[in-house]
């Protein structure tokens, strides 16, 4: 209703986001670009993907595609996406919900999907966005920060995100909609350390070297500099140090430089495993004390279950 009135004459695209159940998938799928091909409109080297004019809607788009809407907003969501075209004036929310239920039934064998929150990009003024987002909570307008919050607000009851993740996710989504950079090695929990935005940006610049041409020129040069500095260093080779002691130049870490590998890697060959929750873990120098709860363990080939366990160990 209100949405329809505020629409311009252009067609109104609705993106439905089907989000999988598992918590870690949200962020890892949204932000990981490692195994998904990235289509970008503005990059010199990557292809542009835009919906052809004569396409029959709804279109099911696989994961990992950046779409550009009529308004110019770029969205990259690494989850399977259904793009539908709704005639102007129709309630996007209800139609989206219908589609959603159909989809959900269709994808029943999948891990249970929560009711998706359709993202509706268009040129509505941001001032009207929050109000509408509140009244029609399923409609999200990613061009405004408030909308992003609402999306997460919707996610909260389903995923029981705790507060730290909530703020972090919000922060990352906000960055993504503006910067549209590729991420790699992102996982569900984001570091909360370091300066507010810079640490993430730094990490982006240190993105794997294979995506050299994806990054900007400056970053590519930085990568080259790093590569040259490390060209002698091999991940697994060990060589004796020639002048490791005397020379204190910047980078004589020549592939290990006589540093012996960690002794006793066989420690982890053991099959004795405890999976549990902890009440308190305490350490003094190398003496550890464990107060564990609610766990299962496989020890000596036998399985045990405990509601409480206390242990001591020396490292």
């Amino acid at each position: 209703m209100e949405l329809g009135k505020d629409l311009k004459k252009e067609n109104f695209y609705i993106l439905e986001v089907i989000v999988q159940k598992l918590l870690f998938n949200i962020l890892s799928l949204v932000f990981s670009s490692q195994h998904n091909v990235l289509f970008q409109n503005n990059s010199e080297t990557l292809a542009t993907f835009s919906l052809p004019a004569g396409l029959a809607y709804p279109v099911q788009i696989p994961a990992g595609v950046t779409l550009q809407t009529a308004s110019g907003q770029l969205y990259k969501v690494n989850v399977p996406v259904v793009v539908t075209q709704a005639p102007v004036g129709q309630q996007p929310a209800t139609q989206a919900m219908q589609k959603v239920t159909e989809w959900r039934e269709a994808s029943a064998p999948q891990p249970t999907a929560i009711p998706p929150n359709p993202i509706a990009p268009h040129e509505v003024e941001t001032s009207s966005v929050p109000a509408q987002s509140v009244t029609q909570p399923k409609t999200i307008l990613p061009s405004s920060k408030e909308a992003i919050v609402i999306l997460l607000g919707q996610l909260l009851p389903f995923y029981k995100l705790d507060f730290s993740e909530f703020t972090t996710v919000m922060f990352l989504l906000a960055i993504h909609s503006q910067l549209d950079l590729g991420y790699s090695q992102f996982s569900d929990i984001v570091q909360l350390d370091g300066p507010a935005g810079n640490s993430d940006l730094e990490e982006e610049e240190e993105v794997p070297l294979e995506e050299n041409d994806f990054l900007g020129i400056i970053n590519a040069e930085a990568m080259k500099a790093l590569q040259e500095g490390n060209e002698s260093s091999d991940g697994n080779s060990i060589s004796s140090s020639s002048d490791g002691e005397g020379a204190d130049e910047l980078d004589p870490l020549n592939s290990g430089d006589d540093v012996i590998e960690q002794d006793i890697p066989d420690l982890f060959d053991t099959d004795n495993v405890i999976v549990c929750q902890y009440d308190k873990i305490h350490r003094s120098k190398n003496r550890w004390k464990f107060h564990l709860k609610d766990g299962v363990m496989c020890y000596g080939g036998r399985d045990y279950v405990f509601s409480k366990a206390v242990g001591e160990a020396e490292w």
Partner: protein, 188 residues
């Protein structure tokens, strides 16, 4: 060289603290999940990694700065730091071992005599300070060496300085001053 004592004093280095940089951003979560012998402290934003061979503990920050503590000599600190950087390299980070610097050396030493702290402080008024209500030792700071010596009434010293050489020099410097203010051990 300039030692005024005949018997050799045993200066035992107990702790060497060093820092270095890896010149690359480190993903603490990756280190915490895939590294061995690590303690992740997300509330502070660092990972502790302990090494056995040189018994050291390293605090690793995501910026790539690493503080390495617990070594018993400067060489050991450097060796441990390199091993640590090697571990990080194996985890997949583009580590460049750079800016290694020993920041602090802590040593203990024991005088063969007890010391009268009040006299010692009186004789060395501005440089030495003694507040028995706060701390049972007198603090003697050598400005040009940037070394701090804490003198206990039993004759034990703890010395901290930027490197081992400074620590040794500091002990030699303070020895005659302590010798003057020694307290006869025998008590009735």
């Amino acid at each position: 060289m300039d030692s005024s004592n005949d018997e050799a004093l045993d200066i035992i280095i107990t702790n060497v603290v060093a820092t270095f940089r890896t010149r690359c951003h480190l993903n603490l979560r990756t280190i915490a999940l895939e590294g061995t012998n690590v303690i992740y402290k997300p509330e502070v934003g660092k990972v502790l990694m302990k090494l056995r061979k040189p018994m050291i503990t390293a605090s690793i920050w995501s910026s790539g700065k690493i503080i390495c503590t617990g070594a018993t000599s400067e060489d050991e600190a450097k060796l441990g730091a390199r091993r640590l950087a090697r571990c990080l390299q194996k985890l997949g980070f583009k580590v460049r071992f750079s800016a290694f610097k020993v920041v602090n050396v802590l040593a203990v030493c024991s005088m063969p005599f007890a010391v009268n702290l009040i006299n010692f402080t009186k004789n060395n008024r501005p440089i030495a300070s003694y507040e028995p209500e706060l701390h049972p030792a007198a603090t003697y700071r050598i400005k040009n060496l940037k070394a701090t010596i804490q003198v206990f009434s039993t004759g034990s010293l703890t010395v901290t300085g930027p490197n081992v050489q400074n620590v040794a020099t500091a002990v030699e410097q303070v020895y005659p001053l302590l010798f003057e203010c020694q307290k006869p051990l025998a008590k009735t």
